[in-house]
């Protein structure tokens, strides 16, 4: 266990996100127990684990989306660039602009493709004029590998796109607000294999500019896209390490059982 920790410290000299002893309660349910994790910048970190293990809940702590749920209480310490995000001085709305999120089901707004992407920049006043906004939208769509397909139909509703395109639109929408961290909550679970492959490729490219955290049910996906993997089980963080090591040489019995298909 000691070896493992030291390996971890080497890998993450300055963690982008540092969580310490995080506890989450949904009413009476203790959903997250003592989770401490360091997430590095410019890396894809995957959260895996069986349903109900708390991986999505923990993800939603990082941009304080859990605040929108009345019965949810979060304790512990989560630091983004050394700053406590649960500090009273932090405005969760501002935080969410910095920590973008992509959801399980593609959820484009009932607006045009352009307005979907321009939504965040407009709210946060990122563009001084229309030309700048056009640029931001184009860049975001290019980054999400959607520009070529969408450039001729920017004024058409985003809901008219295919499922995979919708999910890439949602990624473009998140990218457009210039976040530092991208949280992805099972972004491919509603997509077919081809769309999944496109989104996975995209995730790998996004690593250049962002710290990406992805929750996934598919272990193959975690193995394909992530550099670091965290395994959650019943609200505990069981194991966290380099993806290759977690999948080939798990330290914990539970991780091994899950990966080989005996639990979960």
């Amino acid at each position: 266990m000691k070896d493992h920790l030291s390996v971890e410290c080497e890998a993450i000299l300055q963690p982008k996100i540092a969580a310490r002893d995080v506890q989450v309660h949904y009413g009476e349910t203790h959903a997250i127990k003592d989770v401490s994790v360091d997430i590095a910048d410019n890396t894809v970190t995957a959260f895996i684990g069986p349903s109900g293990c708390g991986k999505s809940t923990f993800l939603r702590c990082i941009n304080r989306m859990n605040d929108t749920i009345g019965i949810c209480r979060v304790r512990g310490d989560i630091k983004l660039d050394g700053e406590d995000i649960y500090d009273k001085a932090v405005d969760p709305v501002q935080l969410r602009a910095k920590v973008g999120m992509v959801f399980q089901k593609p959820n484009p707004f009932p607006k045009s493709i352009y307005d979907n992407v321009a939504y965040g920049p407009k709210i946060h006043g990122l563009a001084r004029n229309k030309t700048e906004l056009d640029e931001i939208v184009e860049n975001a769509l290019r980054r999400a590998a959607l520009w070529d397909e969408a450039k001729d139909r920017l004024n058409q509703p985003g809901t008219g796109l295919s499922g995979g395109q919708q999910q890439r639109l949602c990624i473009a929408r998140a990218v457009a607000t210039a976040p530092e961290v991208l949280l992805m909550d099972e972004p491919c679970s509603a997509l077919d294999p081809i769309a999944t492959a496109q989104v996975e490729e995209l995730i790998d490219e996004l690593r250049q500019n962002y710290c990406v955290v992805i929750v996934t049910h598919s272990m193959q996906q975690a193995a394909r896209v992530s550099q670091r993997t965290a395994f959650f089980h019943l609200g505990n963080l069981v194991e966290f390490g380099d993806t290759g090591q977690v999948f080939t040489n798990p330290q914990d019995k539970r991780t091994e059982s899950y990966i080989t298909g005996r639990i979960g």
């Binding site: 999120m101 484009p108 009932p110 607006k111």
Partner: protein
Amino acid sequence: MPLIWIFASLLALGAVGYAMGRRRAVAVAGGDARRLHSLPNYYGLNVLLAVLVPSFGVLFAWMLMQPMLIEHSVAAGLPAVTAEHTLVMSDVRRLAEGLKTAIAQGAMSGDDMRALATGDGTIRAALAAVGVALGSEVEPVVLIAAQSYLAKTQTGDVLRTIVVITLAVAGFYWAMGQTNTAFRARNTVERAVLVMLMAAASIAILTTVGIVFSMLFETINFFGQYQIADFFFSTTWSPNFRGNSQLGILPLLWGTLYISIIALLVAVPIGLYAAIYLSEYAAAKTRAIAKPLIEVLAGIPTIVYGLFALVTVGPLLRDYFAQPMGWGESGSSVMTAGLVMGIMLIPFVSSLSDDIINAVPQTLRDGSFGLGATKSETIRQVVLPAALPGIVGAVLLAASRAIGETMIVVLGAGAAARMDLNPFEAMTTVTVKIVSQLTGDTDFAAPETLVAFALGLTLFAITLVLNVIALIIVRTYREHYE
């Protein structure tokens, strides 16, 4: 056989048919229901339907047709077929009814009835004794016609009973004969149910068509007596039952629109804001209490709102706004009716909008929050646009209510037809005038009465156009958003 007995025996035969059909199906299958194509119930229902549907169908058709045919043949026997034709026929009917009652009560026999003679007052006396009052002494032609009317009706009734009962029995035997293991009773019964559902749908549609046509005929009648251009473009409304009326719809339409617009200006913002608060901000507990409380407003009868307008809002507006500002002296005003009607409409807007806003998927809100939008930005830019088609529908529903409202206007805005911009003046609406033209001792041939139908049809056309506009708006936005 009286009608009620026919009904009762048909129903009884149906019930017996159900039980026997069911039993027979089980017997045919040798007691093993699994060998049947359908469940035993369906065989029973099949017999029930075969008994009831044709017999009831013929019964109702007969009941509609018989009086028409008999009247036609009796009327042909009357010598002077004149403009008073309908009056004479109603005399014949009344006399026939009277004679029938007299026979039923035993005051005279059938032979007595046939032997009756006119001119000596015996008929009036005989009928008065059984409680049927005749206005004047019976004329010979009318008596003959009434006797033939009565005879034909009685023959018809007997024939009706025989035909209907025969049909029912025939249906019974036919359906029983069908019952065997291979007969697809379930499919037959389900097809019959489908036909019934279609009949229900067409009744609603046909009734609407019927209403429109009845209004249309009276309206055409009206325009035969009154210039169509004067009705639509005259700015004066002054009906006069001695004739020479001016029946311009414009002042009434103006009043209707003015009051409706004020009502919507009150109801739409308040209702919409209430809906947004309840669905997006209020805690579940608050919502559970507040929503039913708001909906109580919708349950208050409009006449109560009218009283509220008359005794509270009207004098209040007059004493504190209109009089000090020199805008008018009237206790009833467009403003009073508009405000009170607006309050009445709040629950229509809020309750529907609340449901619609709640139906907007949570994932859209999450998406917006996840981009760092505040709650109000999310509501304004994501939730409301997504809910817009439904909200437009709610507003237009409220608008049709406002246009059709009568009691609040009578008590709140008065009954004076006037075209004025001052909202503190008394004005009135189309609906109020429809009521006032049709109440009291009226002559249904005069344009002053018939104008009510023209007004009603115009109102119907306006609400129809409103609904069509609503549909178009909803459809365009739906294409845009979903």
